[in-house]
Amino acid sequence: MIALAIILTGIGSYAMRAFFIFALAKYRFPPLLLRSLEYVAPTVMAALVISMLTTPEGELAAGVPEIVGLCCAAVAAKLTGNHILALLAGMVSFWLLGWFI
């Protein structure tokens, strides 16, 4: 049963990734749609961050260390454009605050 669940999920997740790439292979994208697609990457990333910081009941599961850590990471990412530095800034501030508070 577990093997069946893995295979079904594998087929489903591949289909979701491939579907529009194949369905729209010969479609001429209107400029308005192309423009709206520019917002997909920033909004999905933003939504993922918040969903990782909330419980399934909809409550915020983040304290001061998490919030400060994410702000430090955002600033470091904006200033340096380097994901490693952003990760370091975020994790180090999160760990330091977690130990002091």
Binding site: I21, L37, V40, P42, M45, H83
Partner: protein
């Protein structure tokens, strides 16, 4: 930015490497979930090549561990992964000038990090785009296979109080900033954060998709009537 890099394949692999660091603790979280669900290590690991999607795999095994039916666990996992359909729409124009085999293979490695890389490093030249995309995708793939194998074996031994899984939201904040190279994109991201929080109690994280669609539509409406 829109010129082909000299060595797109090498660039793709190098760009993927730092993004993998936060996936490492996630591979260990995955290992813990598999162990807690009482699933044999090899069977749990087999989901890495078959599904290749961290959040989808973790959701599936969490629900199986809680005793959910196959139908319930699979549909929940797929709803969690539904954002990949947006990636598929967004990349469809870039896949139009590509050969058929690349549509099949490229779809398989279309994960969050590879999608964002393709958005923040736009490459117009089709061959360079393909090499960059595949190199980034399969670098991530290889590392994920190795690390989830380590994760199912070692995962239960990592002390949870380290909070290493916080690396995942930190990476996504960094990717969000990289993808928001204009103020309106940053505004869209802020909108999406607000909506996701308001919709956070929807089952199976369905709020992610609704929040993204709502924010994109609002930004479009705002752009159509210049102030």
């Amino acid at each position: 930015m829109n010129t082909a890099p000299t060595q797109p394949a090498l660039r793709g692999s190098l760009d993927a490497l730092p993004l993998f660091i936060p996936a490492l603790p996630f591979a260990f979280v995955f290992g813990v979930v598999v162990a807690e669900a009482g699933i044999p290590e090899w069977l749990g690991w087999s989901s890495s090549p078959i599904i290749f999607g961290g959040a989808i795999q973790v959701t599936l095994f969490t629900l199986i561990g809680e005793g959910a039916s196959v139908a319930a666990a699979v549909s929940a996992a797929l709803i969690v992964g539904a954002r990949h359909m947006l990636y598929s729409v967004t990349l469809a124009p870039r896949f139009q000038d590509q050969p058929g085999w690349f549509r099949w293979v490229g779809s398989y490695v279309l994960i969050d990090q590879v999608f964002v890389l393709s958005q923040i490093k736009p490459i117009d030249e089709p061959v360079a785009f393909r090499r960059y995309f595949l190199a980034a995708g399969f670098t991530f793939w290889g590392l994920w296979m190795i690390c989830t194998a380590l994760g199912v074996v070692l995962g239960p031994a990592i002390p949870p109080e380290w909070g290493v899984e916080f690396a995942a939201p930190v990476l996504f904040v960094s990717l969000m900033m990289a993808a928001s190279d204009r103020r309106d994109k940053l505004a869209a991201a802020a909108l999406a954060m607000g909506f996701t929080f308001l919709l956070a109690s929807l089952p199976n994280r369905a709020g992610i998709l609704i929040a993204v669609l709502a924010s994109v539509l609002i930004m479009l409406a705002l752009r159509r009537q210049p102030t």
